[in-house]
């Protein structure tokens, strides 16, 4: 309960801080629109040449792109402002020391206490694109499919958070390793259907870093309706990755505070 209050307070104060810069607000809205137009242009260019990309129709791809935008927006609103450049900000500049001495769970403070509400603009745009894709698709999803879609989105978000925490944990063992650029690049892979990647890479992106599943699973759930197996494995995968992240974080903190040596 306290954590929820802290989370709300953090979001509220970030929102207030954001609104004081109105020029930046307009600027960022403009940029989100441009980014979205560029991704839509990609789809448009591809489907000007073909009717099906690895089995995906144009309308389905719009839904995929929209879903990816929604997830990217939630990631950059709630996860990135906390875990970005973790080795530099948290360890070298001592933010982690501050969190360690505050009377709330350190993992919460380090990974969820801050947010950048401005990035939610992208969420609205993403929802718009999904609607567009579904209208184009011609077949409105059942309520059950929408519910399942929300569950898979939540699972995808949990996996994203866990991957962020795991990457941050690396800093406890190798403080000079800075993988933010790598993660941000790899994230881009998620915006395309899994089936376009060839075999060895596809296996890596499915099981090791499930980046391509993050958007494709919710999208196909929304379009084709819920499947029990998919839902169960999503929830299981999200739980396992979160537990793994929490465990690694604890081990990392023990090392950081010298409790192991």
């Amino acid at each position: 309960m306290t954590l929820l209050k802290l989370f709300a307070a953090g979001f509220g104060r970030s929102l207030r801080a954001t609104l004081t810069f109105r020029v930046n607000l307009l600027f960022d809205i403009g940029l989100s629109v441009i980014g979205l137009v560029a991704s839509l242009a990609t789809v448009f260019i591809v489907y000007a040449r073909t009717d099906s990309l690895a089995g995906w129709t144009e309308a389905e791809t719009y839904v995929l792109i929209g879903t990816f935008q929604v997830l990217s927006s939630l990631k950059s609103t709630f996860i990135d402002p906390n875990l970005a450049w973790f080795p530099d900000n948290a360890i070298r500049r001592g933010m982690l020391d501050t969190f360690l001495l505050q009377p709330a769970p350190t993992l919460f403070l380090a990974s969820l206490a801050r947010s950048t509400p401005l990035s939610l603009v992208q969420l609205v745009l993403g929802l718009g694109v999904i609607t567009l894709g579904i209208v184009d698709h011609g077949q409105p999803p059942e309520p059950a499919a929408v519910l399942a879609w929300i569950i898979t989105l939540a699972g995808a978000l949990a996996v994203t958070w866990a991957m962020g925490v795991l990457l941050a944990c690396l800093a406890f063992w190798a403080p000079r390793l800075q993988l933010d650029v790598f993660y941000a690049s790899a994230w881009q892979l998620g915006g395309y259907p899994t089936d376009i990647y060839r075999r060895p890479l596809r296996l890596v992106l499915t099981y090791l870093f499930p980046l391509t599943l993050i958007a494709t699973v919710p999208t196909s759930t929304l379009l084709d309706g819920p499947r029990v197996l998919v839902l169960v494995s999503t929830v299981a995968g999200a739980t396992v990755s979160c537990l793994l992240a929490v465990g690694c974080w604890r081990l990392g903190l023990r090392r950081y505070t010298g409790a192991t040596s």
């Binding site: 306290t2 209050k5 802290l6 307070a9 953090g10 104060r13 970030s14 207030r16 801080a17 954001t18 004081t20 810069f21 500049r93 001592g94 933010m95 020391d97 501050t98 360690l100 001495l101 505050q102 009377p103 709330a104 350190t106 801050r114 023990r254 505070t257 010298g258 409790a259 040596s261």
Partner: protein
């Protein structure tokens, strides 16, 4: 009844050893060599509630390491530590709510876009301070630190001195009972440093907080701390009253006299000449000889003015760092 107990505390870091050059770099990836660096060795001391103690020593002596252990940031290699009855490294919420660790070398945390008041309110939520108490503490701090005009401003727009005041308010709005201050006046101008000192003294007196303070500025220590703990190379060299340290370390006093037309040769016989300018001289005289020497000077010379002084604290501490406490 003690606020802080430290018994036989040791902290050893494991630092990777690596020689320069490509070959050694590659080699160290596979076969890493470590060296044990003792940062703190067999340190013991205790602080009574309400005590304000100076914790001094040269750079790398182990001051910050000790403070990190006391606040819970580091887990000691061996030894016993109790702060307010807790083991700090467990970092339990009810312990963290009662302490503050303030480092002058580190910026105020939190989003720099937010105002001081916003950040203070977040702090209230985080430390679960009841609203009435929060308001009372805030009013007090506002008066003591002249925060009034800082509250609506963004953290990023504050000057260094203002940031220090805001940072203090953030750490003290929940009324910690034990404060660890690590170089709190670092980089501050004379006014800032004086404000800081006056405030720490007032806060300690008003709330009965226990304070452990490190500083390289002897003025901080001299004005705030009746008791001094001196640490060097990870070991405690002295623990006791400030003036006793001076007497112990400096077996000399300074005799300053003004005697126009005195013969400098005669003065050199009386003691070591430290300073001379325009008819005023400063002599370094062994403590035991002070009475005899002054009497002799007064009878033999035409003295206009004469005073006996302690050696400056800076010089005493410098001697302690270089030569140790005998």
């Amino acid at each position: 009844m003690t606020a802080v107990v430290v018994e036989d505390l040791c902290m050893t870091y494991r630092a990777p050893v690596r020689e320069s050059g490509w070959k050694a770099t590659l080699g160290s990836v596979f076969n890493r060599q470590y060296r044990d660096v003792p940062a703190v060795q067999h340190v013991s001391f205790a602080l009574r509630p309400g005590e304000v103690v100076g914790f001094i020593g040269p750079n790398g002596a182990g001051k910050t390491t000790t403070m990190k252990i006391l606040s819970g940031l580091l887990h000691a290699t061996s030894g016993q530590v109790r702060v307010l009855g807790h083991s700090p490294w467990q970092r339990r919420s009810d312990f963290l709510r009662r302490i503050a660790f303030i480092r002058g070398s580190q910026p105020v945390g939190g989003s720099q876009e937010l105002t001081v008041l916003d950040t203070l309110r977040y702090q209230r939520l985080l430390y679960e301070v009841p609203p009435a108490e929060f308001q009372q503490n805030l009013d007090e701090l506002t008066a003591l630190l002249e925060l009034g005009e800082l509250l609506p401003r963004q953290l990023r727009a504050l000057s260094l001195g203002e940031k220090m005041r805001a940072g203090l308010a953030l750490s003290l709005v929940y009324r910690p009972e034990v404060m660890f201050l690590d170089e709190p006046t670092l980089g501050l101008d004379v006014t800032g440093a004086t404000t800081m000192r006056r405030f720490v003294a007032q806060y300690a007196e008003r709330t009965g907080a226990t304070v452990l303070l490190t500083s390289h500025y002897m003025a901080d220590v001299a004005t705030l701390c009746p008791r001094l703990v001196l640490i060097d190379k990870g070991r405690i060299q002295y623990d006791g009253k400030l003036d006793e340290l001076a007497a112990k370390l400096s077996p000399y006093k300074l005799v300053r006299l003004t005697a126009p037309g005195a013969d400098e040769r005669r003065l050199r016989e009386a003691g070591e000449l430290v300073e001379s300018s325009d008819g005023t001289w400063v002599l370094r005289v062994p403590r035991a000889d002070v009475a005899r020497t002054t009497a002799r000077l007064l009878t033999e010379l035409d003295v206009a003015d004469l005073s006996v002084e302690e050696a400056p604290l800076e010089a005493v501490i410098d001697q302690a760092y270089r030569e140790g406490v005998g």
